[in-house]
Symmetry: C2
Subunit: 242 residues, 2 copies
């Protein structure tokens, strides 16, 4: 499963992270010693050291004096619950490489649900954009986004495997400044499991998002399924001062 | 399944809500007409009207002119992700009746994990409080809470089926003013499913919470499992102004 054309230490970092995420190396447990990993991967100890350092920097591993290196966490912390930022920005910050595959991008008549969420009239058309999003070649989230076509005729030629939706909306003077999310959980059906490379019945985070511009125009309605085994969300809440 | 000793309209409201929550009456669909419900329950139409109004007030049903009454939502909106409030306050606001069963309340040596979360020394003792919490007789959430015993010797005699933990902490000058939550998902194992009256494999929200006092003392560490079929969470996020 090691990717081609990457430096050895990167290939090893990716392989080690897969073993952390699939439970081969469980949380709070030590990973094998540097010398044993060097032998296992048939590389030098500095190469192992570099791979381990990458995972320390990404927050997956932690070095403990006199004990060795242990698994700090197996999941990726997502800021989706408390900041408005693009997926790529979020993944970049973890030190991993984001990637997006566009599965669907087309125009269609808005369903009753989509019309209600985007405050659109009967017979309105929307873009439907389905993206599968990765971090270091592992699929993390499947997102379906609906956007009002009449407000955004300039979107049609864009390649959303390369450009950010939020950055594009901002350039078109429809910056998203407020989002409302509804958070539910569900288990993966066959299609979600296939696309997200997880098991049928695996628990997923299930977000419905409305994005609003400064003049309170709903400009985006998205449905996102995050893999439960690879992601978690952090929430900080302060007491409202009365 | 209708409860005894409650007014008829309340019994019917509870029964109707169960049918909404178990999918007998699906979301966005009409429920039977008033006259048919009156016949079904063998009560007068004003009694049905009162039961329906209760569920409208609680946000489960919605009246549509000329169409009838439809199911607005089957789940309960929880504010757990964005405000610090007690479970009872949250449920009270929905118009339902909160109830708490204390399954465990005892003192024990803190585990390594609990010591780390509460910044406690080796050999420290903690209270362990396990509560199952209901809304109108339906279990919604199972919470295990750890509290440092030395800081809170006055907690021991309290009956947490009757008093609020957060209100008690405030009275003891340990008001929780900041919480950090980590949100994951998991599927119910046999014990969780039994206690929460759901199925093995059903998806649950899985929160880990640290509660801090004004002087940044961690005073509470809690692990909560919310039923995924009965709860959802709402998040409002504004763009940070640079």
């Amino acid at each position: 499963m090691v990717e081609k054309k990457q430096p050895l230490h990167q290939q090893i970092a990716i392989d080690l992270r897969r073993k952390i995420q699939n439970g081969t190396y469980p949380e709070k447990q030590l990973i094998p010693k540097e010398v044993d990993l060097a032998q296992q991967y048939q590389v030098s100890r500095p190469t192992i050291r570099q791979a381990v350092q990458t995972l320390v920097d990404q927050g997956f591993l932690e070095k403990r004096k006199h004990r060795g290196t242990l698994v700090k966490r197996a999941k990726i912390e997502q800021a989706f619950t408390h900041v408005i930022s693009s997926y790529n920005q979020e993944i970049d910050q973890t030190g991993m490489q984001p990637q997006t595959k566009v599965l669907v991008f087309k125009t269609e008549p808005a369903s009753a649900e989509v019309r209600q969420q985007l405050a659109l009239p009967v017979a309105a058309k929307v873009y439907k954009l389905v993206r599968l999003r990765y971090a270091d070649h592992t699929p993390l989230v499947l997102v379906t986004t609906y956007l009002p076509q009449t407000l955004l005729p300039q979107l049609a030629p864009l390649d959303f495997s390369q450009v950010s939706l939020y950055a594009s909306l901002a350039r078109l003077h429809h910056t998203v400044v407020h989002v409302r999310r509804k958070l539910e959980v569900l288990v993966a059906d066959e299609t979600s499991a296939d696309l997200l490379d997880t098991k049928v019945g695996a628990p997923l985070f299930y977000f419905h998002t409305q994005g609003y511009t400064r003049d309170e125009q709903p400009i985006e309605y998205s449905i996102a399924k995050y893999r439960g085994d690879l992601n978690y969300f952090r929430l900080d809440i302060d007491q409202k001062t009365p």
